[in-house]
């Protein structure tokens, strides 16, 4: 277990292994996203009250779920960076921030597009939506903070602390619809008890959530590889890699 952990800290090993993972995961993800979208948009019944407008759920919910999970990935990378001083953890932290920001943005925009015909408004300052906006600012803040430092080690440390402090927002987002009166409805997918969404609509949704997790993993690995190449550009293993590919 520890030897695997130590290997993760080695840039050439990580670069090689991420390359071989991406070779099959990336095509699989693209196919899954396409298949899930077709399944959700064409092969599910309309909702009894909303008609067809509910279909935005197949983008909105997966984006929001993975935006929250991605924050934990980033915060755990930050914790590893603080405790073990692993450079690769800094790379993972910096690489996950823009993906999380993009997913949060997608969740907010699709929510607004759905809210206009359903609720009658684009935006309302309820607990769920406001805490989601704070999540977007946390992600953007981490990108900005990282770029504000010239010394990347100091940048990693500062971002790790900010990421860890921000974790408090995740359970708040998740439970906001239960703790306070909000316009946003409570969760339809329940871990305990029966989900309040019909199975014919639920399965494509679960499929899309899985596809979005895979998408997050692909983007994370691609971002990390790019960051690795730029950080380690003066080292021997990259010179060898370039020589090999010629």
């Amino acid at each position: 277990m520890w030897s695997f952990f130590h290997k993760l800290g080695s840039p050439p090993w990580l670069y090689r292994i991420s390359g071989s993972i991406l070779r099959w995961l990336l095509p699989l993800t693209i196919v899954a996203l396409f298949a899930g979208a077709v399944w959700g948009l064409l092969f599910t019944p309309p909702d009894f009250r909303q008609g067809n407008s509910y279909r935005i759920i197949y983008i909105h919910v997966p984006a929001a779920v993975v935006a929250l999970a991605g924050y934990y990935v980033m915060a755990i990378a930050g914790a590893i960076s603080l405790i073990w001083k692993m450079k690769m953890a800094d790379v993972a932290l910096r690489a996950s921030a823009p993906i999380g920001a993009a997913l949060t943005f997608i969740a907010l925009v699709t929510g607004a597009i759905w809210g206009k015909p359903t609720w009658g408004t684009w935006w309302v300052w309820d607990a769920r939506i406001t805490s989601m906006l704070i999540l977007l600012f946390l992600y953007l803040g981490i990108i900005a903070l990282y770029e504000a430092y010239d010394n990347k080690e100091a940048a990693g440390k500062a971002c790790a602390v900010l990421a860890l402090v921000g974790t408090v927002n995740i359970p708040i987002i998740y439970k906001s619809v239960d703790w306070w009166y909000s316009l946003h409805q409570p969760a339809s997918i329940k871990f305990t008890g029966e989900s309040t969404i019909d199975p014919s609509m639920l399965y494509p949704l679960l499929f899309m959530i899985t596809a979005f997790y895979a998408l997050f993993t692909c983007c994370l690995l691609l971002n990390m590889r790019a960051e690795l190449l730029s950080r380690e550009r003066r080292t021997g293993w990259i010179a060898r890699l370039v020589a090999e590919s010629r």
Binding site: P45, R49, L164, T167, W180, Y181, S182, L183, T196, I197
Partner: protein, 149 residues
């Protein structure tokens, strides 16, 4: 684990726990302001301010929606099954506004306890199902009621 790393691990846990506790307490203290709307029971108990812009939310009472013949004025009541608040609104209602469904109205409460709404939003619940399933559910409910009655 190396003692230095153990110390850093404790520091990380300390940061997470105490920042969570601090922000958690702050959110708890502000809890009342985070609610988007007042439930009708609190309005009936006089907890909602009169003459100020507030929101009231609940289920639209079945049979309470009255539309005016010559204007866009609508009167209806929202309830949380403990109390209900009458609402007057002039304007176009959202498509999903319906009797027996959730709604949130923003406006000013007058002295007689009527909310003069300037905006009405439909609240969607967490139930998603195909129309056939909804019909089947309704039919079985009706059958149940006939058997009970």
């Amino acid at each position: 684990m190396h003692p230095v790393r153990r110390q850093r691990l404790l520091l990380v846990l300390f940061v997470v726990l105490f920042s969570s506790a601090a922000i958690g307490l702050m959110v708890y203290a502000l809890s009342g302001n985070i609610n988007l709307f007042y439930p009708p029971a609190e309005v009936a108990a006089g907890k909602a301010p009169v003459g100020q812009q507030i929101r009231v939310g609940g289920m639209v009472v079945e049979g309470s929606v009255q539309r005016s013949d010559n204007s866009l004025e609508v009167r209806f009541e929202v309830t949380d099954y403990q109390a209900s608040v009458p609402i007057v609104y002039t304007g176009i209602l959202p498509d999903l506004f319906d009797e027996g469904q959730g709604a949130v109205a923003a406006g000013v409460l007058n002295d007689s306890g009527v909310l003069q709404a300037s905006e009405v939003l439909a609240k969607h619940d967490e139930n998603y199902m195909p129309p056939e399933v909804a019909e089947a559910l309704e039919a079985s409910q009706r059958l149940q009621e006939q058997q009970d009655g």
